[in-house]
Symmetry: C2
Subunit: 347 residues, 2 copies
């Protein structure tokens, strides 16, 4: 029998960040698809929509009116999953107080991060930093989760470019797993798991099989253990534990740069607005010292597999047994590397 | 401020089976939905489709012809995620050998389990038992995952009633989590976690808030820690660790009965074919003794939230932070209890 080939044979990969496994079946990309097709997200929208509750000057669900904002705008979610004013609950199961915010990236209804300039992304990052910083002084907030659902496939109900920020009393499941893994790794190796992973991907591996793009401060990789077909991570090259530790304009600039470049590449893969969920992982805003268990990074979980209308379904086996992926992360990185950093609509 | 109310206020619930948490925000059901709508699965299909690769007598992708089967029919998936004949890989990351089977529930193209009679479900269970039993003698198979993806929303590419059976060398992620939790619980309490949970739901709690239906051998509940809006579990009332331990015709009969009743109730919730992923968890088929860490149960993970066309999206916050649900499991159980066990199409 032939040699074992990672591009051909089924294998499992370990995710050291969440202490979990993914099943990788590269040959499976050959199977034809006869299942559900999504509607491609390429309708053209007006730059201002009078019926959009996120556009400047419009009225929202609870009657408030949006200001004529210039770049970003933040407000409390009118249908928040957690609230500050609920009665305290001291016994298990834990009551969870908190705040859910919505943040518009731009007054323009018909733009996405992928089409925004680096300079337009900088105010977005500054607004994230502000929310994160302010959360330290709110006693019932210990964790800040910034995330973006982009595209109808990802459950996003409004195409106006925006993210959400859910601030909670409890530290949620996924960040907790990462904190535990990072702590264990630090105790064993006296170094940071993600610092070491960055070194591995950027320096130790000669052919750099999983790097999509990089700049002085950040690298964007398809992690070895990626679940989604085109999943990537943006990781800070230096050991910064949160957005507020970014060292001045240079690192801010570099973060905006790499966000622009990866989201633009995504749109260019299938020449469509690429649906994804994105989220920022950084130190909790509680009273503990997170010098050794937190390292700023962003996860992108994009849904598409084969075309603008065929997504990857994480269903049956994935829900009941183990996530399964078709193409390898190295194959995905190669595709993403080949994509231009000039948006297909701007060409 | 008012008292803490589980039907009104945000709280977290602990899942002892997988050692994880879910955020529950009951008030959130009030929010309007303006996002993606699915296509309702209610087209009427012929009982035989000449282009279906699962119908009796038809040709499949690799050229094989299906027999004129009478109730169930099993074959090896033409596009298997794991295969028996790949080279062995001894180092990490683990190579994974195995087998992927497809099993048709019925020769009829246009039926689903929800519309099948109890007597028609019995041969399905017998076929599951057969595959499970035979796997013990295959050295490179240690785990058998039986699962069904039902409905296009769940990534199912063919409406012909069928399930899949992925048999693998490795014991996958989710069952591993359960094995670990069950072992820890047994070591601490000298009893089985699921035996104790069944006692709690069926006997200790007077108003039985989470029971949907039951018979002598099985109970169907919306588990306290459910993630999906109408998620349920069928749990054996006695401590059987796998399908082959079912005690004769009576327990077989009872399993068919409860599967029929819950799937029928699902279809009746929104008067549509209710999409879900279902899976059976039982003892691995390896060499270890699983008397204390395994207890036969089935998980149903249905996608719908509000109507035949509005599903629950487990996206941004769920992927990056923690699963979040809207209605409580107790509210879901109440809805399911109110649904008839006579299928809406048969009325
Ligand atoms: O093999 P199928 O049914 O075509 O494929 C479906 O189920 C598999 C197992 O849950 C998933 O990995 C696929 O993404 C899904 O489309
Ligand atoms: O608040 P939104 O954007 O309407 O809602 C969306 O994102 C939430 C957080 O990821 C999910 O819980 C919802 O299921 C999804 O529809």
């Amino acid at each position: 029998m032939s040699e074992f080939d990672f591009n051909e044979h089924s294998h499992r990969r370990y995710n050291p960040l969440t202490n979990s496994w993914v099943l990788c079946s590269p040959h499976r990309t050959k199977r034809p698809w006869q299942g559900q097709q999504e509607t491609a997200d390429n309708e053209s929208l007006p730059s201002y929509d009078p019926s959009c509750y996120l556009c400047p000057g419009n009225r929202r669900a609870q009657g408030d009116t949006n200001p004529e904002y210039q770049n970003t705008f933040i407000f409390t979610n009118d249908f928040a999953a957690v609230k500050s004013d609920q009665p305290q609950f001291l016994h298990k199961p834990d009551g969870v107080r908190g705040e859910c915010k919505v943040m518009c990236f731009s007054p323009k209804h018909n733009i996405t991060v992928a089409e925004m300039s680096k300079d337009a992304i900088i105010p977005v990052i500054k607004a994230w930093i502000e929310v994160y910083r302010n959360s330290f002084s709110i006693p019932y907030i210990n964790h800040v989760q910034i995330f973006e659902n982009k595209g109808a496939i990802m459950g996003c109900s409004n195409p106006h470019p925006h993210c959400q920020i859910w601030c909670t009393e409890s530290i949620p499941e996924e960040p907790t797993k990462e904190l535990i893994s990072m702590t264990k790794y630090y105790e064993k190796n006296k170094s940071c798991l993600l610092c070491d992973y960055v070194l591995l991907e950027t320096l130790k591996l000669q052919d750099k099989p999983r790097i999509v793009c990089e700049n002085d401060s950040f690298v964007c990789v398809t992690p070895f253990w990626a679940i989604w077909p085109y999943e990537t991570m943006i990781i800070a090259k230096s050991h910064v534990k949160s957005l507020i530790e970014l060292d001045g304009e240079k690192q801010l600039n570099d973060l905006a740069d790499i966000i622009r470049r990866i989201t633009c590449r995504y749109d260019n893969v299938f020449k469509c607005s690429f649906p994804y969920s994105m989220g920022i992982h950084q130190a909790p805003v509680d009273e503990n010292d997170h010098s050794h268990d937190s390292h700023l990074h962003l996860h992108f979980y994009p849904a598409l597999l084969r075309s603008p209308t065929v997504k990857k379904f994480l269903v049956g086996y994935e829900m009941l047994a183990e996530p399964q992926r078709d193409l390898t992360p190295e194959q995905a990185a190669e595709t993403l590397r080949k994509c231009s950093e000039i948006h297909y609509k701007q060409k």
